[in-house]
Subunit: 276 residues, 2 copies
């Protein structure tokens, strides 16, 4: 599979991304699932090195931001991609509707607190982008405030990247028809009823507004250091494979190596151990 390409803010058009496509991958579902499994091992190994480096003062960490319309498969990404990594190396932060406490602070306050520590792969299940997505669509803040947020986000992300965070932002892109199928399943299967929220239909009715909000957010905040990837997600297997590969490429780019503790005389340690 080819490495997924980030959204170029000068040419990007969300409408041009076909949700059922599988860019960079020629195989079928079975081949995709097989490759997912194969590449998982390398991802796990690299995360362990990332962790090992952090034990010796390394500041590197990875942050994956995942945004999507309802039912687009965020949960599946967490289960099938993130679930393939040692859970000791993962920190997941799910951002819901802000609490009263959170609303008292700047919108980036709660996000800053949940950044991954060195050595970790952090995942944001929704994120500060909600404040320019639902925030814009539902007019939860004045227009000029929303406008300001794009720049504040870009500035914030530049700062954390400078501090050792490798940031990758993913939008899982499904079609409206596919969402209908997935919501129908939640309605028709009693074991899925708990996942269904009548409010989902209200959000669905605002589909085009959300697409516009994503378009603007991606144009304004996709940078070399903090790129957005719009991942076609009508085929769950492809979305998982693509997101895993995005993470894998990010970790490959970190030049990780097993750290060597200084000042340890290994022969002496060996003798001391054997004498016990």
């Amino acid at each position: 599979m080819e490495a997924p390409t980030p959204a170029d803010p000068s040419t990007f058009s969300i409408a041009a991304v076909e949700p059922a496509s599988t860019p960079g991958f020629e195989g079928d579902k079975a081949a995709g699932e097989a490759l997912l499994k194969t590449e998982r091992k390398e991802l796990g190994d690299l995360q362990e090195k990332l962790w090992a480096e952090s034990r010796f003062g390394g500041r590197k960490r990875v942050l994956l931001v995942v945004q999507a319309m309802d039912t687009a498969g965020k949960g599946g990404i967490l289960r099938h991609v993130i679930g393939g990594v040692d859970p000791q190396g993962i920190s997941i932060a799910a951002f819901k509707k802000p609490t009263d406490e959170e609303l008292k602070h700047h919108f980036l306050w709660r996000v800053e607190q949940r950044l991954p520590e060195p050595g970790m792969i952090g995942v944001f299940d929704r994120s500060h982008y909600e404040d320019v997505l639902i925030g814009r669509v539902r007019k939860l803040a004045p227009e000029d405030e929303i406008e300001r947020r794009y720049d504040e986000i870009a500035e914030f992300e530049r700062r954390i990247v400078d501090d050792g965070v490798t940031l990758r932002k993913v939008m899982l892109h499904i079609s409206q028809d596919e969402q209908k199928e997935r919501l129908l399943e939640r309605i028709d299967r009693p074991d899925k009823h708990w996942k269904y929220n009548p409010g989902d239909l209200e959000e669905r009715a605002l589909w085009q507004d959300y697409q516009t909000a994503y378009q603007v957010a991606i144009e304004r905040t996709s940078t070399d250091a903090a790129p957005w990837f719009v991942v076609p997600a009508d085929r769950k297997w492809y979305a998982r494979l693509a997101v895993q590969r995005i993470l894998l490429e990010a970790l490959r780019g970190l030049d990780l190596a097993w750290p060597e503790p200084e000042g340890v005389d290994w022969d002496r340690e060996r003798q001391a151990l054997l004498a016990t």
Copy 2:
């Protein structure tokens, strides 16, 4: 495999547990690994139900406490057992040497803050038991203080169990010879050097003191509501299987069911969705 049996405080003897044994399981490594895989699915399904219940006000959660001598395989349990569950349903807290801030508080303070939320499986990688293990062996507190801690732990655990926590405590029990092999591997393999700490040999020299500290802690705090399981751990595959089964039995005992949201007219939702 038979369900692992908890330590009976009136008869328990750590010296009588053979670290290389595989109680309750007759099969070999390959059979054990196959069963681990089979039972993983049920564990994952039950955790999802636990989570679903919590979305509708359920208070249930599970807490697995894992204690062990160095190299006994805590990391492997996290990777291979906990790693089999959806990472969204897992919260791991690793307790290291207390910070200055933590030392200002009661020893249970930091533990209380890391309890799993409803719907989650929490894992304590080391725990409040360090305060009666290394605390006792290294005399980090006066004898009467250590003595008091057993009762405080029992009281604390009773309280959290009453609040909806299903608590299971595991000691991974390895032999001194097996530890030697595993430390040797860390010394001999450059890619494992980062895991090696010369201080490990000092702890190893106190082996018998630690065994006594475990014996006393288990006698004093293994109860029906908060049982200890001493899991033979010289065979990593067996320890993983046993711990997975301990979790599985705990979840099976919770009578979990898919919640049914009240007041939703599914036919009407279906029609409304189809009209979009």
